[in-house]
Amino acid sequence: MDTEILARIQFAFTIAFHYIYPPLSIGIGLIMAIMEGLYLKTGNKQYEVLTRFWLKIFAITFGIGVATGIIMEFEFGTNWSVYSRYVGDIFGSALAAEGLFAFGLESTFLGILLFGWNRVSPKVHFFSTIMVFLGSMFSAVWIVVANSWQQTPAGYHIVGEGFDARAEVTDFWAMVFNPSSVDRIIHVWQGAFLAGTFLVLSVHAYYLLKGRYVEISKKAFKISLVVATIISLTQLLSGHSSADGVAVNQPAKLAAMEGHYEKSAPADLYLFGWVDDETQEVTGIKLPGGLSFLVHQDFEEPITGLNAFPENERPGQVNAVFQFYHIMISIGMFLIGLTLYACYLWWRGTLFDKKWLLKIFAYSVLLPQIANQVGWFAAEMGRQPWIVYGHLRTDEGFSQEVSSNQILFSLILFLVVYTVLFLLFIYSVNKKIKHGPYDEAKNPDEFLKYV
């Protein structure tokens, strides 16, 4: 295989694996901060038990997130050296800002969060929890800013020609607040909150089904349900706003997301379907003119299709972009329905009576994870063939001096190490869940005797 394909596979694999963890830590961090805050406010020891329990799972998740994240920071240089020279002035400064303003904050307070229970006062500990949570939120900001600049470059000019050409910053804040960054930061935060809250919902639904830790599980479930409902509903808004931005800034990506080929015609909205790139036809269930309506509030308004772009300037994998995008949307819709229905039952007072619903919650931990992954796949594959939209092509950006054998070597190592790491993660989280927040054998009548 050639170097470019291998470099892309390696990057996709390492970033996709990495992206399992940071969203989980951001989401669990939010729930943990709420629980610890409630503990400080009410003095109810149940919240302390919950905080300590989720902190253990947070610690593993955060640790793997950091370890796999360092690799990303250096992989631009090892595998994408042409790209790195081209964008260092801008992209590099966003990464440096992430280190300085976000990563430093979260990693330093992490020590106090994990090991400080017996060393600092509860208030200082709570402060550390908040700092770690904020740090992880800021991290997301700078990373998404860097990526958004690749999607919708702003605040820069191109200097030099040929090999010496590179982007230089002209307006820092225009670069930070480029046309897509705000929508995407919010959307990514929301995806992260859902990843974390659905893990909490899943674990406590499992306890409730088994009849274990009933009292605290009900509390944790309700807290997370409130967050999950608000976030899944509002994520629809940030998603819509983000798609509006794509329509303006990256029309080829939008066209690929709905498999819309005609140069200029009203575009349909598919519930699901299959794109045939050869015949340029989509088979599936659609709302005619639906995309036109979403973008222009008019079913008849034309939308730029893929054929308006030269063959070598449109995404190569239209069907993949279409499928990933639709899987993300379907999961989003399902989560809205699920959380709203659960809230309705809560209002009726029968939330914990329906076993089948708890079962769905127990399994639905996977859904936000899948949505996060496929959402990014749609965003990144939809950007192709560009690595910097409109300026630098992906097939120009990789390290020319690195051989395919070198990448094959590192890729195999990554596959082995990451597989082991993933199994360890599952094993270790599963063990902590099975073990539970406290020892039941010693405290058969709920935990109060224990504390």
Binding site: T68, I71, T78, S81, S107, G111, F115, L421, L424
Partner: protein, 345 residues
Amino acid sequence: METFLGIDYPTLWYLVVGLLFSGYAILEGFDYGAGAWHLFFKKDLSRRIAINAIGPLWDANQVWLIIGGGALFAGFPVMYATMLSAMYIPFMLFLLLLVLRSSAIKFRSSEEMKWWRTTWDIIYFISNTLIAFLLGVVLGNVLQGFEIGENYTYKGGIFFAFLSPYAIMAGFTTLSLFMTQGAIFLLLKTEGRLHSRLTFLLKKGMIFFIISFAVTSLYTLIFLPGVTDRFKEQPLFFTLPILAFLAVANVPRLVSKKKYFQALIFSSLTMAFLLMLVAFQLYPVLLPSTIDPAFSVTIYNAASSQKSLGIMLTMVVVGAPLLAGYLIFLYKTFNGKVQLDDTSY
């Protein structure tokens, strides 16, 4: 070119990057160094204490690597891209070893089984040792220069070219320096039998360091082009190796007086002086080209725009005091000997 206090921006950024990597070497130096002693401790409890000595600190220490990497990428993108793609294999190994090392810290004590702990102990020991060694190897390669052709493209060997004799020597020097640093740090954090064992080990570590340092210095002076010229141009540079030597000579005295914190300061100073020596030796070159000096990567042809450097210097002015504040708070909280409790690894 814009300047601040008469110093141009690329030079200022060179100082920032140098400072960040010195901080990384000093702080992660004792973390990696402590890990490189791991299998020299026989008892399970000693090993557990050794890991928990760095337990709350290593994540924060690692920040220096992340910021250093970001600073290099942002300020000298050409250097970042050329060095990393030319040193592909050592950097990939380095990164994977970092992952293994973090996993070992997290998972080692999570199970009681003997085979489990022994396996992780071995992984932890090997990863720390090799990380320290590889960092020195990369530094050795940078000092020697790369086969860089036109447009900063690397023309050298692909798989094993990085393992030159000089690079290996530099690797051992770094490893031994980190091990010295690590042993002193553990002396500071432990008591009892582990502590007495460390006093013994530290002596071995220092001998290891003095031998590798002497050999590497000799090789540098004899075989590396331009080093002696540098000293002739700027005789003041001579003070740096002398200071490094004085600092390291002071360590055994302080250790015998049980002043471990001061000893740690002096071994950190040794590192700082040696890194300054490297920095002055190279300046303004970042990566010498062995093909033609005209192809070398320097702080001027590698630098980002003046505008970008200006923005980042401002960020450093704002961010550095904050970061220093967090670190001081963290180190104060975990001051003193290791005490295992229910939150420990």
